[in-house]
Amino acid sequence: MTSRKNAFDYVNVAIMVLLLAITLYPLYYMGIISISDGGAVSRGEVLWMPHGVNLQAYKYVLDDPSVLRSYANTILYTALGTLVSLVLTTLCAYPLSRRHFYGRAGFSLFVIFTMFFDGGLIPRYMVVHSLGMIDTIWALVVPTAVSVFNMILMRTFFEEIPEALHESATVDGAGEFRTLLQIVLPLSMPVMATMFLFYAVGQWNSFFPALIYLNEKSLYPLQIILRNIVIQGEMAQQTTQMGNDFASMSETIKYAVVFVAILPVLCIYPFVQKYFVQGAMLGSVKG
């Protein structure tokens, strides 16, 4: 697009800046609280600038050995979970995207039906239990492996690939697997990147399966440990102690926890961004 900048561009930038401000302020607010002195925060003095800067809250969070251990756990669960999910979802979406897949509508319904009707926590627990997956990493990765929502999106993108490409591949002697791996996937990098993001973040933030299927504290992922810390400010005990910095530190700790939890995920996006390049399908179709 080589047209000159016009009024619209300026308005656009202005809108973006406004959005940035609205998005940034709460994040900034949480940030300055997390590095401020607890007493000042309790008195509501911290609004635009930090007061009494210290890293006590972060120290408190990171000193806890279960935080670091659960961090490592979560990295492992996320890596494995994303891999399993991507593979299973692709194996589901690709056939459903092929027009000649016999029984396609029926299978689609079969899958989509599960979006509306869920067996429930207890029955699923029993299935997981009878497969011996309790207290193993598999309980966190397998039962939630395929998100039908994601699968449908993936399928939609796969369907956009022109049939002509498939046909020429067939003529060249490629079977379905080869077509998938050599033609469809390379052309689908944007959606694959998106799915990678969705699953990775979903796994990173997940806590409910871990809560239900794990009993061993050393296996807990980050979110379980962190949620407890975050909620502690809301929980009032019946007695409090003098010199108990907890009462004043709870806000600072809460926000320190937030940043500790989201930092790695923020770093993924820049890497994934390069797949959102326009024209990934360029050159293949026309001609």
Partner: protein, 539 residues
């Protein structure tokens, strides 16, 4: 054409097989590691003379006090009782979900902390061990039963299924009037002795500090902001609002029965008083959504000067306030008299009878387990799980508890030394104790904290302070009825009650029809069910 196709088909097949195989391998591999620790009786509970009795022991973990798997108490218990505890802790915020899943699938650990509700709901499923036949082999627990007769309310159809958490000694806190006494002095306001005088005092404070909202309230302990605000006030006026778990009836010590607050004129008076405060902006305008956090902020920052909620919090407010203003001080004032002359306050129960440890019906060697639990209620067990090791962690001098200096020094740099100690030693209500002595709290209470506790205790004896009581047990039909009644009635009351506090004129025009509708929705039945159940316990 065939060759490349089949090669990829083969690869594809292999991929699927590997995936499935990996799944199954992972499953069986996981299955054999240490087993599903939650299922009771996995080689546990068998204790011969030398082999330790291994018990899986599950409780929730409060974020302030981490559950340490090999805390001092756990180690000592192994040494002294030859019992190995495999502690499983779940964050309190989601403990209910976990607990219910385990109960519903009959995979509970050997010993698990549950609420009385869970026992009521699932006792007849046979998942929990019936403890009644073992009780006469438990001398220590018998003593506890005598000292805490309210445990009777935990019996279901004459049977006991859970070992409740009792308290031997604790700081007594309650929803007591706490006010900024320094401001009373500064502004020349006499200490209020009635609710009317309190209103006048708050008004004068607002005049001096127009941006303030002198009376602050919050949601806490499972009750909404509204419930937590109305409870002490209505009670102080001679009526009441909810039980400790939010049911819209209350136990009145004056009549010794459950009553429905809104029926009494004193309740209406209390609401009128609250309305007066709200409309003159003396009461926090956001009280309906106030959290503990925002409430503390207001009181810490001089935005609010009065609260009638857990008085213990003043111990943490005062130091924070004094960082800015050395004279600032929250202090307790004596019970306020209502317009009709009633003088009473609500305080917290010291015991935690609504929480009990249940034992899995599948446990092996129940006698051994029972014996161990009895020990936990006895003096040795109590002291180990409440105070620590004598002459190392504490000493008793002239009958007085004194924490050892080494212990205090070891943890003095932590944000909360008290909880750090409790955590490391495995002590307390949030730790392993079944019979709990909170003397370790004393060094951290400060003079005021201890003085308030003593005053509160004195007033309990004097018939001024009354503790929250537990619900009586209900039978199946009653529980069904309660479910239906409460669903509709609760929503109706909750969505309407604030209107009378917030909206001008609502009390005059709509109160009577509100009460009438409560009646139609079953308020009478609700009270009746509670009183019938209570009568059964007392007979």
């Amino acid at each position: 054409m065939a060759k490349p196709k089949s090669r990829f088909a083969a690869a594809g097949t292999m991929l699927s097989v590997i995936l499935l195989g990996g799944l199954l391998a992972g499953c069986s591999g996981g299955g054999s590691d240490g087993g599903s620790a939650a299922s009771g009786g996995d080689g546990n509970g068998s204790g011969s003379a030398n082999k330790p009795l291994t018990l899986t022991w599950m409780r929730y973990e409060h974020p302030s006090q981490a559950v340490v798997e090999d805390s001092q108490a756990v180690q000592e218990i192994l040494k002294r009782q030859n019992v190995k505890l495999n502690l499983q802790s779940v964050p309190q915020s989601n403990y209910d979900d976990k607990k219910k899943t385990l109960i519903a699938t009959n995979t509970i650990p050997d010993v698990m902390l549950v609420k009385q509700d869970d026992i009521q709901n699932y006792a007849d499923t046979g998942v929990f061990l019936d403890l009644t036949p073992y009780l006469d082999k438990m001398p220590n627990f018998q003593k506890v039963l005598e000292e805490h007769p309210d445990i009777k309310k935990n019996y279901i159809d004459g049977k006991l299924y859970g070992f409740p958490l009792v308290t031997k000694w604790d700081i007594q806190a309650g929803q007591i009037p706490m006010i900024r006494t320094d401001l009373l002095q500064k502004l020349g306001i006499p200490t209020p002795t009635t609710y009317e005088e309190l209103y006048q005092a708050l008004k004068k404070m607002k005049e001096a500090y127009p941006d303030s909202y002198p009376f602050a309230a919050r949601a806490a302990n499972g009750l909404t902001g509204t419930e937590n605000l109305i409870n002490p006030i209505a009670f102080g006026f001679g009526s009441g609002y909810t039980t400790f778990n939010g049911t819209k009836v209350y136990y009145d010590p004056a009549t010794q029965k459950y009553e429905f607050g809104p029926y009494s004129p004193q309740f209406k008076e209390a609401i009128a008083w609250l309305h007066k405060l709200y409309s003159e902006k003396l009461l926090d305008q956001d009280y309906t959504t106030a959290t503990s956090q925002t409430w503390q902020e207001k009181l810490n920052s001089g935005k609010s000067f009065y609260f009638q909620d857990n008085n213990g919090f003043a111990s943490s407010f005062n130091p924070i306030l004094q960082q800015k203003d050395p004279n600032a001080k929250f202090d307790m004032i004596p019970v306020l008299a209502s317009p009709s002359g009633v003088k009473r306050n609500l305080v917290y129960s010291l015991d935690h009878l609504s929480e009990s440890y249940v034992i899995s019906a599948k446990v092996k060697d129940p006698d051994r387990v029972i014996q161990f639990i009895d020990w936990m209620y006895g003096e040795e067990g109590t002291n180990l799980t409440s105070l620590g090791i004598e002459n190392q962690d504490y000493t008793i001098e002239n009958g007085e508890y004194k924490m050892s200096q080494e212990l205090m020094d070891k943890y003095k740099d932590k944000p909360s030394p008290y909880y750090a100690i409790e955590s490391a030693l495995g002590l307390g209500y949030l730790g392993l104790a079944l019979n709990y002595d909170d003397h370790p709290n004393v060094p951290f209470q400060g003079e005021d904290g201890l003085r308030w506790s003593e005053t509160n205790l004195k007033n309990v004896d004097a018939g001024i302070n009354f503790r929250f009581t537990n619900d009586p047990p209900f039978n199946k039909e009653e529980r069904e009825k309660l479910k239906q009644l409460r669903t509709e009635l609760d929503s109706f009351i909750t969505s309407n009650m604030d209107k009378f506090i917030i909206k001008d004129g609502a009390l005059e025009s709509d109160w009577d029809s509100f009460v009438q509708q409560c009646k139609e929705k079953g308020a009478d039945e609700l009270v009746q069910i509670y009183n019938d159940a209570l009568a059964r316990v007392q007979s």
